[in-house]
Symmetry: C2
Subunit: 413 residues, 2 copies
């Protein structure tokens, strides 16, 4: 249907097959939260579950919970629960550490699997920590050269039989641009290189088919669309075919074949467990498990259909209601090429974002001039989109964003 | 006083200057918990504080808490709070990641600070993950040789001007043996090498004076004597003098000089922040902060005095009441050379530990034949020591440990 009024949006919300999911989050009705692409909101029941774990598993059962409550294997059991969301099988995903640390493991393992090849490809637009982690590993190892896809330089331009590994972001963290995982993976493989996909901005936003696309490695976080809580543990996917030969230098005891034998020499565990390092931060898994209970009941294709509609609606309304107000679309216009987020440029994006926040519309700013809005289908309503655009229009037309308080930069912008 | 009865123990407990601290833990009165050297018990108020953080900071304030609740800087602010417990200054400790990951950072940074030296020294008795992490880093870097202190091989035997780094455990995880940090650090420095101390089994158990002993690097965990909760984030200490030149390959965005500038190139932050990697697992810091509130009121020298008395008492009573019952002391006999734990050998240690657990005395087993008992002064009572030895005697004399159910090995032993 063509939306011409707020009532049309309310009607869409009423007919939304995901409407019931929204009620499972503790979201203030006064907020229009369009920043779930950065930190997902709180699933109901999380604090109660955490209290139970703290009081019963830690307080009463103490050390015995490493066995009895399955603490020791959380990285593997939660990994298996997450696997279907990325098209992986059991025993292919470990949930632990941060995305950065997991990328280091996947990257160093991939390099070892392609000896004699000295080129690494990534993209200028990837989230910077990925570039930093590659840089750290490459300087550490020596002998590698980095090439970046960017303005006027395509992946095809850079691929050759010298390329060991290509590291790409499935969905661009600023613009939301989606790579065609299947075609790109196939292209990389044709040159004998391996691929590592960063799924931070796609997991929980669109269906992902790692095994079907024959992906080698992937990493991602769980605190954005997956709603796993602030800084929840990240994940690493290692394709089953690479597991026997994949070795990584963060060879901690939790990745050992027999961690409680206390051998003097490291023997990697069979399977993906060798991508574990140290003791898991147990309590940080609790909210993620609550969220995965919710995800068990969600159809990712419905999520994808709805977030395409939400982002299309947002862009349509911005084009209609905010024309000539200094905005420029920084995301692909076609929903198929876009994740679950929309980026707009404005000469004073930082201030506009602050003014929106003051009006109850939470988005975020990304240097130098972008405002980002995320539209997770699990809780954003069509009516939210309508309201957000009206408020954006008002902030721009009235020039509210020029208020001096909106120019004050916070530490973490 | 010489203890000859349980009543003597109760009297000691009544006079204990740390008696009030014990009431701040949620410990079942039915348990004698002698495994706080593995997982510390639950400080009161932890679940309530966690609920507050989950509901208010995550649920209501959402993404704004990265600034407003200080989430972003938790690794540094909590590091500064922990610093006095290890004799470090502000800006020298970061709390993040696991001990294994932090050792990798400290070790690779230390190697870079000693170019041209190719020998690494550690000890056969160190907790195995330390050896595994060194092994992983050395195999990836190439060109290094490892030497181990052990049976018949002393540190002096191995030190030379080829040695880059020495990695030692302050307190041995099995026997509780304490290294003389000052003398050993001085000896290592005389040969121009750097030292990394693993403080996992000493932090919170004895006063530590990292700066006073001129220590280069240290790592440790917070879930044992510090009671930070299951898998709580670990820490790394980097002496201020090394910070400007210390670089480590896990160069994630949280260790960048300007993480929100989103530069393409990594520029390490000034100071210890460059030992951060990725997004901190925020919720895992909450219990540690509750515990540090408690530590603010505790005098470590009182802790040390009491744990020496507790372990002395335990050994005295075992020698008196369990003589000729097949036990052998595996810890130093002198309290000054021992941390806050006692290890005993028995031909069936695994079964004896299981039988003790069934009787409410929680210790643990370490392969191949050791039972470990920890005596954190913050909550273990003198009467607990008395009762534990009587139950141990009973288990041994009656042969209860021979019950078949105690021979069943669990996954995590």
């Amino acid at each position: 249907m063509t939306v011409t009024s707020r009532a049309d949006c309310v009607e869409l919300d009423d007919r939304d097959p995901l409407a019931a999911v929204r009620t499972r989050f503790e979201l203030s009705p006064d907020l229009i939260y369009l920043d779930g692409n950065s930190l997902g909101p709180l699933p109901s029941g999380t604090a109660a579950r955490m209290t139970e774990v703290i009081q019963a598993q830690w307080g009463q059962d103490l050390i015995r919970s490493w066995n009895d409550a399955g603490w020791f294997d959380k990285p593997l059991t939660v990994g298996d629960r997450l696997a279907p969301l990325v098209g992986a099988g059991p025993g292919e995903v470990v949930v632990c550490d941060s995305t950065s640390v997991n990328l280091f493991k996947a990257f160093t393992a991939a390099l070892e699997l392609r000896p004699g090849r000295s080129v690494v490809i990534s993209e200028t637009r990837i989230f910077p920590t990925d570039l930093y982690m590659l840089q750290g590993a490459m300087e550490f190892l020596g002998g590698y050269r980095r090439e970046l896809i960017g303005e006027g330089v395509s992946l095809e331009d850079l691929l050759s039989d010298e390329v060991a590994v290509v590291v790409l972001s499935h969905v661009d963290y600023v613009t939301g641009r989606v790579h065609d995982m299947r075609a790109v993976t196939e292209l990389i493989h044709r040159h004998g290189a391996l691929v590592i996909w960063d799924l931070c901005h796609s997991v929980g936003a669109l269906p992902i088919a790692l095994n079907d696309c024959e992906v080698d490695f992937a990493v991602g976080c769980t605190y954005k669309y997956l709603n796993g809580g602030p800084g929840a543990p990240a994940f690493v996917f290692v394709s089953r075919q690479h597991q026997p030969d994949a070795v990584q230098p963060l060879s901690g005891w939790h990745g050992h074949a027999a961690p409680f034998a206390f051998d003097a020499d490291y023997q990697p565990a069979a399977g993906v467990a060798r991508f574990r390092v140290g003791t898991p931060l147990v309590l940080s898994y609790v909210p993620l498990e609550v969220s995965l209970d919710l995800w068990d009941q969600i159809d990712l294709s419905e999520v994808r259909t709805k977030n395409q509609r939400l982002t299309d609606l947002f862009i349509d309304l911005v084009e209609r209601d905010c024309a000539d107000l200094g905005l420029q679309l920084a995301s692909p216009r076609s929903a198929a090429e876009r994740g679950s987020q929309v980026a707009l440029r404005h000469e004073a994006s930082y201030q506009v974002v602050q003014a929106l926040i003051a009006r109850g519309v939470i988005g975020d700013f990304r240097a130098p001039d972008v405002m980002r809005f995320g539209f997770p289908a699990t809780y954003v309503k069509y009516a939210d989109v309508w309201d957000a655009v009206q408020i954006l229009r008002d902030v721009l037309i009235t020039g509210q964003w020029r208020d001096a308080r909106f120019a004050v930069r916070s530490t973490v912008t």
